[in-house]
């Protein structure tokens, strides 16, 4: 197993556990819920085959689901996110082969582009998960409120997490 593989495995396990134990119980103002585990999907290297990305995303979602007793919701959202990763990055960074590092981060993309990429990924995921959870358009304002609040909270957390990990590696 290569160094990155080990790193990613550790990241996977740590973030999944952190989500299950700590972050699942956080609900700021009754609206904002942080989803830190999606950082694993966001940070996966672009050189990795899409099938692997999909598999990793699905299993990550499944693990978090089992811990939070919401079978199927997170796994579906994570699968969608994994599929949407490459198009979203292409949106902001069309010349992919010019990446300095295979993993998208502040270091490799620059803060503005990475910021946009991160924000879009987080927004996509939050929309997906809250729509699946509600499974209807009953009270759409509340759904929108939760999406927006969770997006901001998760975005800030992941920005911080990324700077910590990037400085470390």
């Amino acid at each position: 197993m290569t160094k990155t593989a080990i790193q990613f495995t550790i990241l996977y396990i740590v973030l999944a556990l952190a989500q299950a134990i700590v972050f699942n119980n956080v609900c700021l103002f009754g609206a904002a819920v942080p989803f830190v585990f999606i950082y694993v999907i966001i940070r996966l290297p672009m050189t990795l085959a899409v099938n692997w990305v999909l598999t990793i995303g699905f299993t990550l979602g499944l693990v978090v689901d089992i811990f939070s007793d919401t079978q199927g919701m997170n796994s579906l959202a994570c699968t969608l996110l994994a599929m949407a990763r490459r198009p979203i990055l292409h949106l902001y960074f069309p010349r992919e082969d010019e990446l300095t590092m295979p993993e998208p981060s502040i270091r490799s993309l620059g803060p503005e582009i990475y910021g946009r990429y991160l924000f879009t990924m987080v927004l996509f995921y939050c929309t997906a998960i809250f729509l699946i959870e509600a499974f209807s358009l009953f009270d759409p304002l509340r759904i929108m409120l939760r999406v927006i609040c969770s997006t901001f909270l998760t975005f800030l957390l992941l920005l911080g997490l990324d700077s910590v990990i990037s400085r470390g590696s």
Binding site: N51, L54, G61, D65, G72, S75, T79, L80
Partner: protein
Amino acid sequence: MSTLWDFLLKYSRWFLFTFYVVVSCILLFDTNPYQHYVWMTSAGRVTSAIYGVAANVTSYFHLHDINEDLQRRTADLELEVIGLRNQLRAMNEKVYADSLAHDSVMQPFDFIIAHVISNSVSRTHNYITIEKGRLDSVRPEMGVVDQNGVVGIVNVVGDHSARVISLLNPKMRLSCKVKGRDYFGSLVWDGRNPGEAVLEEMPRHERFRKGDTIVTSGYSAVFPEGIPVGTIISHEKEHDDNFYALRIRLLTDFSTLSTVRVIANDMRQELDSLTAGEENDSRTNP
């Protein structure tokens, strides 16, 4: 085979993606109650719509058999209804008979309860038809009453029906008296008002009060004494100055006649034989 394999490899990501989505959806819909409910109800709605259309089409194939079955059932039901109606009529008669007040006047008489099948009040000569006849022991010259008062006299009798001369018929004159007194007169209908009749030939010296009851006098083989007929409204002068004529409001409501009783008088034969004997005497002894 190799092109298929190449195709599968090329789009492997999509197959994998679909597979993961399907597995997630199965987990989602099976275990979470709200999603399960939404899935079931929407699936149910779609299937019911399709089944509805299919049923609409296939229902036409069985129309012939359903038709036959319905006709058979209708015939059975109609027979049952007729049977039940007859039963109901028989019960009604029994109830009617039970509700009759026990007059001491009427005790020696038997009644035949009959339904009115034809009636009129607006003609100058009115007749009533009842649905009992000779086979029900109805004979001509029998009196007919209902729970309110006198109705008429049986005129013509068939096997299963009989014609009754109504009181509203100038041909019928009923011998009546004021209840409690013995002064008697002759009640006849003047053709004007079906609720009123005229009691003629009442002696002039008698005082009459409005509201007094008029009853049958009993001076006939047809009606026993004491059957109520009407009440006095007013008196009017007759062309003959020695006698009064009284206007009577009839107690019987002829326009709503439905069930009547035919008085089977056991005494009639005896009375008739007595009068027949008188006639024979007058013939033999001029």
